[in-house]
């Protein structure tokens, strides 16, 4: 197997004059959780549909697990799980029957299907309600049933579209745990969302989507560095006359704010807490408190759109 499970080259989708996805280059590595971020209507869902071969790209190449979804849609769809946004089930059927239908469509034998369904329902904590009609399920339960369904075909890659949208905080937290659990089983995940703190909590790398283009890509720290200047903010309180000069001389420091009195704010490219403490000592000052703040994706997102002179439509 290659290291890259998903790769697009200059992927473009036009609807008439409207360009939904514009020259997208995307790479997802094996075993990684990749977050696709962006406001509603940025082209996330269109991209996902093209990855699955459910919509044909206007231009460009897609490789999913080494297959071209346009030419080999069945091979791709047999190996990739898809959890759509606002997932729907046949409300009149039981959870078990819903999964049994999907298992049949995947060509599983009855015996195999039964075994797998039981395991998966148990894994997502729905085995007690497996013979209840899905119409009675809450949104969180449906979402978990969706994960069970996706896992039925034992996928190598799972694509999720807005998986935590509309979940209450507890259900969302449980769901994120479920995603982390998938990663520990070696499954790669591509996840689209506009709920930034949740993306930050689970994703290894993120891509920021805007008007059909990937405007930023990388780890949260890397993005912070590019957008905010420094990835780390160290807040410290210290007494002393020339603390600021000493701090500025530290390698890796991007900026130092002397807010008021004893409070300083240091922007740096790496975690410089220990060095900053030493610098305060060297300056002959007294260190009173020291704190590091990892920048949130929310901040990066807001700052990016402000820089671009556009309005960020954050959640």
């Amino acid at each position: 197997m290659t290291d890259v499970v998903l790769k697009t080259q200059n992927l473009t989708k036009r609807y008439g004059d409207f360009v939904a996805v514009n020259n997208l280059n995307l790479n997802v590595k094996a075993g990684e959780i990749f977050g696709l971020l962006g406001p509603n209507g940025a082209g996330k869902t269109t991209t996902i549909l093209m990855l699955l071969g459910l919509t044909e790209p206007s231009e460009g190449q897609v490789q999913v697990l080494g297959f071209d979804p346009v030419r080999r849609p069945l091979s791709v769809k047999a190996r990739v799980g898809y959890l759509p946004d606002q997932i729907g089930f046949y409300d009149g059927l039981t959870a078990y029957d819903n999964l049994a239908y999907i298992a049949k469509l995947n060509g599983l034998s009855r015996r195999e299907a039964q075994a797998r369904i039981e395991v998966r329902l148990d894994q997502v904590g729905l085995s007690e309600v497996s013979h209840k009609r899905v119409g009675t399920f809450s949104r969180g339960m449906r979402q978990r049933l969706g994960v069970a369904e996706v896992l039925l075909k034992e996928p190598q890659l799972i694509i999720m579209d807005e998986p935590t949208l509309g979940l209450d905080p507890e259900a969302a937290r449980e769901f994120l745990e479920l995603i982390r659990d998938l990663k520990s089983h070696g499954i790669s995940v591509l996840l689209s969302s506009h709920l930034l703190h949740q993306v930050q909590a689970v994703c290894d790398r993120v891509g920021l989507f805007h008007r059909g283009q990937m405007v930023l890509e990388g780890t949260v720290e890397a993005l912070a560095q590019r957008v905010l200047g420094g990835a780390y903010r160290i807040h410290l309180e210290a007494d002393g006359s020339n603390v600021e000069t000493y701090l500025r001389q530290l390698p890796g420091v991007v900026n130092v704010h002397h807010a008021n009195g004893r409070a300083f704010e240091v922007e740096s490219k790496s975690d410089l807490r220990a060095e900053a403490a030493l610098a305060v000592m060297d300056a002959g000052g007294r260190l009173l408190s020291l704190n590091v703040e990892i920048p949130s994706l929310e901040e990066i997102y807001a700052r990016y759109f402000k820089q671009e002179g556009r309005h960020a439509i954050a959640a």
Binding site: T45, T46, L49, L52, L54, T55, R71, R72, P73, L74, S75, K77, A78, V80, G81, Y82, P84, Q86, I87, G88, F89, Y90, D91, G92, Y101, I102, K104, L105, N106, G107, G146, E149, K153
Partner: protein, 327 residues
Amino acid sequence: MLSQLSSRTHVVREGSPWTGVWAVVGKEMADLLTSTRMLILELLILLTAFGTVYAAAQNLRDQTGEARFLFLKLFTTGQDPVPAFVSFLGFLVPLLAIALAFDSINGEFSQRTMSRVLAQPIYRDALLLGKFLAGLFTLALVLTTIWLLIMGLGILSLGVPPTGEEVARGLLFLLLTLCYGGVWLALAMVFSILFRQPATAALASIAVWLFFMVFWGITAQLLAQSLWPAQPSVPATILVQANREMVLNRLSPNTLYGEAMLALLNPSVRSLGLVLPMQLQGAVLGAPLPLSQSVLLIWPHLTGLIAAIILLFAVGYILFQRQEVRA
């Protein structure tokens, strides 16, 4: 050479469009057969079947000695105020077919299950074909059940078994009715692809059904009269007008079904078109046609209905293939 060939087929299309058809058929049939609307329509048809056949049997009981094709008359005899069973079927079957299909595709969208199902390793073909076949099989199941019930009821009430030819004609009639239902099934399916609201699709299907039931006959007459005016002094123009009107009328599946049904269930029908007196020279009026001749008579009607099914299905197929998956 072989690898070249196989790599070329991959370029064309991977796998079979039939993958998963039977899974879809099984699931859809289970859905249809347990749905409430099916129950209502089945009850309605059963009620009409019992009512009309009972009335017909009362009427026919005294003729058991002399009349031929008693079992076929069971379908076609009406006794005031109860019309014959076949005239009920003419409008109940479309209704049943529409009820089976009007939400087949848009229902998946409104339930938000479409993208999830299409993300499985099947082609769209399998979903559409599976849904259509499930509707057709359900229709066949219902019609066959009713057919068997009527035959059984006939044996009980008339006291004579059906002849081989009666059974053969009856079975052909069943097939014809199924094809007629298939046309409406395919039409309702096209509308279910075209309209995102199941209610709109149902209304549109019913509108087409009403149009052919009520207005097409009038329209055909008016069109024929205005396009090919008949001059009373020239008999040929009258003939042309009548012929054209008949052709126009036959564009309606209802007309095709009505005519073909008549020829199948009434062996003494010798022609479905215009018959001039001179063509009847030497004919023994009222003498029944053999089955093979009746089949010959309805062959164009049967193929016409099947062609309509295929055409409508093809339209639906193209529409569905081009449809965006996202709601």
